[in-house]
């Protein structure tokens, strides 16, 4: 162990913790942090920053957690106070707060340390270094007997702690140190202590956004000053804090906010990922900057194969897909994938595609300061696109109707909506910031589909891959009795068993015609057209507005019809003739009945 030249008593930190708990005012918090940082030697400021956040490292490092649960903490408190486990537990139950229980029991000043009985080894006050390195050892201890050692190490800290220190130590170990200090407040305080002028604040923030490690930023700042932070650059393997989007609910407002012209991209419903590549080494970070590399061996492979730059940082959305049709699958499927224990089984059952939308770094060049169009062009040039790893669907437009149409198409194909991005010269990548350069456009309403419908097959699309030689999907229509027409509502490719699939060409062979049937109303060009005759039962997730499908065209909304989102084939209905199919009126009725405001659902982390 190397000698620490300069340290901070843990007591000082804890006193600030206690004061921070009593306030919610940002100015007061800042003042307290300034007090703390002024007393903190540069050598330990990183540790102070991590401990304030109740952690030992930035989350993205994927370092082991403390791995010490309630039962073990009780044992450690028992060791440190001389009270039996059950006495500690009783106190815990009474107070409902383990930290508080530790504090009260410690305050009773029983002799618990053996050395106290011998009058040897006077207790030295805890220091930040001792606390940090002991917690670090607890986290890193593994293997047989490690649980006992973890408990004893914590017991040793609590043994030497004051009552108040014990309370906060327990909170840190429990992961319940919630001081409510935002990172921004810490940066304010760092700027006041180490920056000579207000100008230091944006420099600190930029450095933090580039490395996502506030402890590291604080240490560089304290040891080398603001100038050193200015030269900090993007590092492959360290996540960049993601740029976030504002939200609006009309194309006109969006255009007004962004300067009249946008790059509109599909907002895929999956997991946002920042993919780092350095030679063959790949890192994948989530939106919350957790290291999720191990969850996606498939994405690692895509990145290795399809990113042509030697070093790069790209951003994209990982989405579950139907490998047979290439269609997007709902977000829930990705959650199911995550719950699988064996990642290789999960990869097979829930294959994913990656849709890339940004480039932050490539071979020595930091692209975060460059405008989006340049970023996107460079991205295109370094990606060898494939079905499973390609750029997000996008258009550039200044026309609100085009945005609306693109939006409806996105929804119907299974996306959440679109993201419209300003494309002027100042539209840089604002790491860590939510701003008006990017604007989300999502649905305000949706209509969940509760019942199945019976639809007529009016066309088909050639299958690819496993479905070569048969149909990949069928174009399905509802019946319009007034006009005696069949109007399309979806393309169904999911839900077919292998047996059904195999028989499709045989089943439809006598109905094939070389042009669209006159009774069929379709804007979509099928590969093969049928005489409308065969009826199938289909279920979907929602009924949604569509710029492609013609059911009730222009009646609910100009330039849009009704369509079924995430349709699945259930079974054939040989008992039904084409005129017995669900009518366009019934579809409209279903749409209206279930139309609800979309709640921003809290997603599991």
């Amino acid at each position: 162990m190397s000698a620490v030249t300069s340290d901070l008593e843990f007591k000082v930190l804890v006193e600030i913790f206690a004061k921070l708990e009593l306030t919610t005012k940002r100015t007061e918090m800042t003042a307290l942090l300034v007090q703390l940082f002024r007393k903190t030697p540069a050598e330990v400021i990183d540790k102070v920053v991590y401990l304030m956040q109740g952690k030992l490292y930035p989350d993205w490092m994927g370092m082991p957690e403390l791995g010490i649960g309630e039962r073990l903490i009780i044992r450690a408190i028992s060791m440190a106070t001389g009270f039996s486990d059950s006495a500690v537990e009783k106190e815990f139950k009474r107070l409902g707060d383990l930290g508080k229980a530790a504090e009260i029991l410690k305050a009773k000043k029983r002799q618990a340390a053996l050395t106290a009985f011998f009058g040897i080894g006077a207790v030295k006050p805890l220091t930040v270094t001792r606390v940090y390195s002991t917690l670090d050892k607890i986290a890193k201890t593994s293997g047989p007997g490690s649980i006992d050692l973890k408990v004893k190490l914590l017991g040793g800290l609590l043994q030497d702690a004051t009552a108040e220190e014990a309370k906060y130590l327990v909170r840190i170990v429990e992961g319940r140190l919630r001081l409510g200090v935002a990172e921004a407040t810490m940066m304010d305080a760092l700027a006041i202590v180490y920056g000579k002028t207000k100008l230091a604040r944006p420099v600190i923030e930029r450095a933090y956004n580039l490395c996502s490690d506030l402890g590291y930023v604080a240490k560089v700042l304290a040891e080398k000053g603001v100038e050193a932070l200015k030269t900090m650059t993007v590092t492959v393997g360290r996540p960049i804090r993601p740029m976030l989007a504002e939200r609006l609910s009309s194309p006109r407002e969006i255009l007004m906010k962004t300067g009249g012209k946008v790059l509109a991209e599909y907002k895929y419903d999956g997991e946002r990922a920042q993919i780092h590549k350095k030679g063959d080494r790949i890192w994948i970070f989530s939106r919350r900057l957790e290291n999720i590399t191990h969850q996606y061996p498939d994405v690692q492979d895509f990145a290795r194969k399809h990113i042509k730059a030697n070093e790069a940082i790209v951003e994209g959305e990982i989405v579950c897909i139907d490998p047979d049709t290439g269609e997007l699958r709902p977000f829930q499927e990705l959650m199911r994938r995550r719950r699988k224990h064996d990642i290789h089984v999960a990869m097979k059952e829930y294959p994913v595609s990656v849709f890339l939308f940004d480039l932050l770094y490539a071979d020595g060049v930091d692209y975060t300061q460059k405008p989006i169009i340049e970023r996107r062009e460079k991205l295109k040039s370094i990606i060898e696109e494939s079905d499973r790893f390609r750029l997000a669907e996008a258009i550039v437009t200044d026309n609100p109707d085009e945005i609306e149409e693109f939006f409806l198409k996105a929804i119907e194909s299974g996306c959440e909506g679109i993201v419209a991005k300003a494309i002027h010269q100042n539209a840089i990548y604002q790491a860590g910031a939510r701003g008006w350069l990017w604007i989300k456009y999502k649905r305000d309403y949706k209509s969940e589909m509760m019942d199945t419908v019976d639809l007529v097959a009016v066309g088909a699309f050639h299958g690819k891959g496993r479905r070569a030689g048969t149909y990949g999907a069928l174009l399905m229509a509802a019946y319009d009795p007034e006009a005696d027409m069949f109007r399309t509502v979806c393309k169904v490719g999911s839900g077919f068993t292998d047996e059904v699939l195999e028989k499709l060409p045989e089943m439809f062979k006598d109905l094939i015609i070389d042009h669209k049937h006159p009774r069929v109303d379709s804007k979509m060009e099928a590969d093969i057209w049928f005489v409308p005759q065969i009826v199938a039962e289909v279920i979907g997730a929602e009924i949604t507005l569509s710029p492609i499908h013609t059911c009730y065209w222009g009646k609910v909304k100009p330039g849009a019809g009704l369509a079924i989102r995430f349709p699945r084939f259930i079974r054939w209905r040989p008992d039904k003739g084409p005129e017995d199919a669900t009518t366009v009126h019934e579809i409209l009725e279903m749409y209206r009945k279930q139309l609800r405001r979309v709640e921003e659902a809290a997603r599991p982390p």
């Binding site: 028992s78 060791m79 001389g82 340390a113 053996l114 011998f118 080894g121 007997g145 040793g156 043994q159």
Partner: protein
């Protein structure tokens, strides 16, 4: 330096108990003896080993040296020893060399590490109850107590018997060790005493009962427990444990 112990297995038992107390420790070799003192990280218990030079078949230590080691690593090596194997300990350029010598000899080199622990002085404490008992009944009393709770109580009212009680939420166990039963060799009670200790610590060193026929048990009310095991004739392992409060 070089030292040869006649029984590698006995040393393995000592290190087994030690490994449950600390993860790292340091042995000090002086011309007279080998001493190891270790305080567990929670500072609740202390482990002291003293092996005088006469216990060794060969003992060549001219000046004081220290061998620091990871207890789990050393234990793993020593577990490879068989009955009647000897153990040779030597020091060479930053490495500690442990050779198990039997029908053939096996040499392990492990890095001589510097342990963080500062050197502990020899603890001095007066306790009111001092008993010498056979080690078997102690082992069983602890095992019984472990099945029902997490503390064990030692008490002695008179010089006739030593009582070891296991205390759980709803049940109790009791082991009486008296002269009549033959398990008690001697008992001195300066003041009637009763004190409680955590089983999770005591059980760590119960393995020493394998290599020590008798054990000296000392305690006082609300004071530490001292267990002293005599090993290899002149060798000694002493264990101190802080009391629990009910």
């Amino acid at each position: 330096m070089k030292a040869i112990l006649p029984e590698a297995r006995a040393f393995a038992s000592i290190i087994e108990a030690l490994s449950r107390v600390v993860d790292e420790a340091s042995m000090k070799f002086t011309p007279e003896k080998v001493v190891l003192r270790a305080l567990d990280p929670a500072k609740v218990s202390m482990f002291i080993m003293e092996l005088p030079s006469i216990l060794f078949e060969e003992y060549d230590v001219e000046e004081e040296v220290k061998i620091g080691f990871n207890t789990a690593v050393l234990l793993k090596l020593l577990k490879r020893s068989k009955r009647d194997d000897k153990l040779e300990i030597a020091l060479e350029e930053g490495y500690a060399k442990f050779s198990i010598i039997g029908a053939y000899s096996k040499l392990y080199k492990i890095l001589n590490i510097e342990t963080a622990e500062e050197e502990l002085p020899e603890p001095r404490i007066e306790l009111n109850v001092n008993a010498i008992i056979h080690s078997e009944p102690l082992k069983h009393a602890i095992k019984d107590a472990e099945t029902i709770g997490d503390v064990v109580e030692f008490s002695a009212e008179t010089e006739d018997e030593l009582i070891i009680k296991g205390k759980g939420e709803t049940s109790e166990t009791e082991t009486r060790i008296s002269k009549e039963s033959g398990a008690l060799i001697s008992l001195e009670v300066k003041e009637p005493s009763k004190s409680t200790y955590a089983i999770e610590h005591i059980k760590n060193i119960v393995s020493l009962t394998k290599v020590a026929d008798t054990v000296e048990v000392s305690f006082s009310t609300r004071m530490p427990l001292k267990l002293a095991f005599t090993i290899l004739g002149e060798g000694k392992v002493t264990y101190f444990l802080a009391p629990k409060v009910e």
